[in-house]
Amino acid sequence: MESNQKSRSLIKGTIISLVIATISLVLFILPAEYNIDPTGVGKSLGLTVFNSDAKTTAPTAAEQSLHSKQESVFITVPAGRGIEYKLVMKKYSKTNYEWITSTGKLYVDLHGEPKGDTTGYFESYAIATANQMKGSFTAPFEGSHGWYWKNNSDSDIQVQLVFDGDYIIEGLK
């Protein structure tokens, strides 16, 4: 008799925990993590903002105006530090670039990260230690592409970066 009651309460506990888990998965976790939102509750709560689709729809209008216009930016890479400057690019879109440092050499890694990737995967197009570089690249996948500069010296270094092509500027990261 007592054993039956224990069984019942264990089964009840397990079922309750499963039900709560399922509800929170369907309503909150899956919409936020994977943009899977069968009920629409996640969207109405604004939980689907973590999905990158929402992020790229806004700048697409701006994309038209930025297209092919030449940009020039000055970036300071602090001594002993690394800095990233990124562009959001569609698959097979192209960017021409040229950069030069004020003084001294920087370690550079020109690379791209696929859109929506959370594993930290990236692909390098060029790795060098140089005081200037000129070239172009075509994005092999949609995502965030750009330069990582590392200043291994003990004084700050300025970089002038000039570029044009098909992208949305994401800027410093």
Partner: protein, 232 residues
């Protein structure tokens, strides 16, 4: 009476859920600055790797939930030490061999099993195994085995970065040591909280609710990770 206890179940699980949702912002991977460090790392870096290990453990709610489950009914420091050692032995073993022997396991599946370990411990604390199987499966062995899976989980996080072989052993040992430091720090807080709570009558009254909530959190982890596995 029945409806009151059901309500208590629900309330606590919802509280726990809120707590989980709020730590969701930590995410469970590695953040941007850590990533940029790992990508550009060369050679031996003892302190940074220790820091990453400690941070991963302290912000890894799946590991912490499991520890809460393991420690819930342990009040003798001898037992605490023994169980934590079993867990440490388990995860260190697979963390080191996983990375050094380059054993590739799917991170989502491993994280789902880590979720299962939380469900297991919650059910075990409810006395479920003892009741249905007639005896409790050796809890020390269970902690050791799940420790092995937690270690594989830690290994997959490090393997994502394809660390250079130069200084790998030292870096790994530093990471592992950092994990233990982070675990020790987390344990202090968990033990403080549980031991404090244990003094009150509410501890026994809500033990069942808490462990049911723990199971629920484990089920959420399983669901989240399995979905991730099928989506990617």
């Amino acid at each position: 009476m029945l409806s009151r206890s059901t309500l208590a179940y629900l309330l606590h699980a919802i509280l726990l859920l809120l707590a989980i949702v709020s730590v969701e912002s930590f995410a469970h991977g590695v953040d941007d600055s850590t990533r940029s460090f790992l990508e550009n790392n060369t050679g031996v870096q003892i302190i940074p790797f220790m820091y990453i290990g400690a941070k991963h453990m302290l912000t890894g709610y799946d590991h912490l939930l499991f520890l809460v489950g393991v420690l819930f009914f342990l009040h003798r420091s001898k037992d605490v030490l023994l169980y934590v050692s079993m867990f440490t032995l388990g995860h260190s073993l697979t963390l080191m061999t996983g990375v050094l022997a380059n054993i590739q396991v799917n991170a989502y599946l491993i994280d789902a099993i880590i979720g299962l370990s939380v469900v297991y411990k919650g059910f075990d604390n409810l006395g479920g195994f003892k009741h249905f199987l007639g005896h409790q499966p050796n809890p020390k062995i269970a902690v050791l085995i799940f420790g092995l899976f937690h270690g594989f989980g830690l290994a997959t996080k490090i393997q994502e970065f394809e660390l250079p072989s130069e200084g790998l052993m030292t870096n790994l040992l530093s990471f592992n040591f950092g994990v233990e430091l982070g675990q020790l720090l987390a344990l202090m807080f968990i033990l403080l909280a549980i031991n404090f709570w244990r003094k009150f009558a509410s501890f026994d009254r809500f033990a069942q609710t808490t462990n049911t909530a723990l199971m629920s959190a484990g089920f959420m982890l399983i669901g989240m990770q399995l979905t991730g596995y099928f989506v990617n």
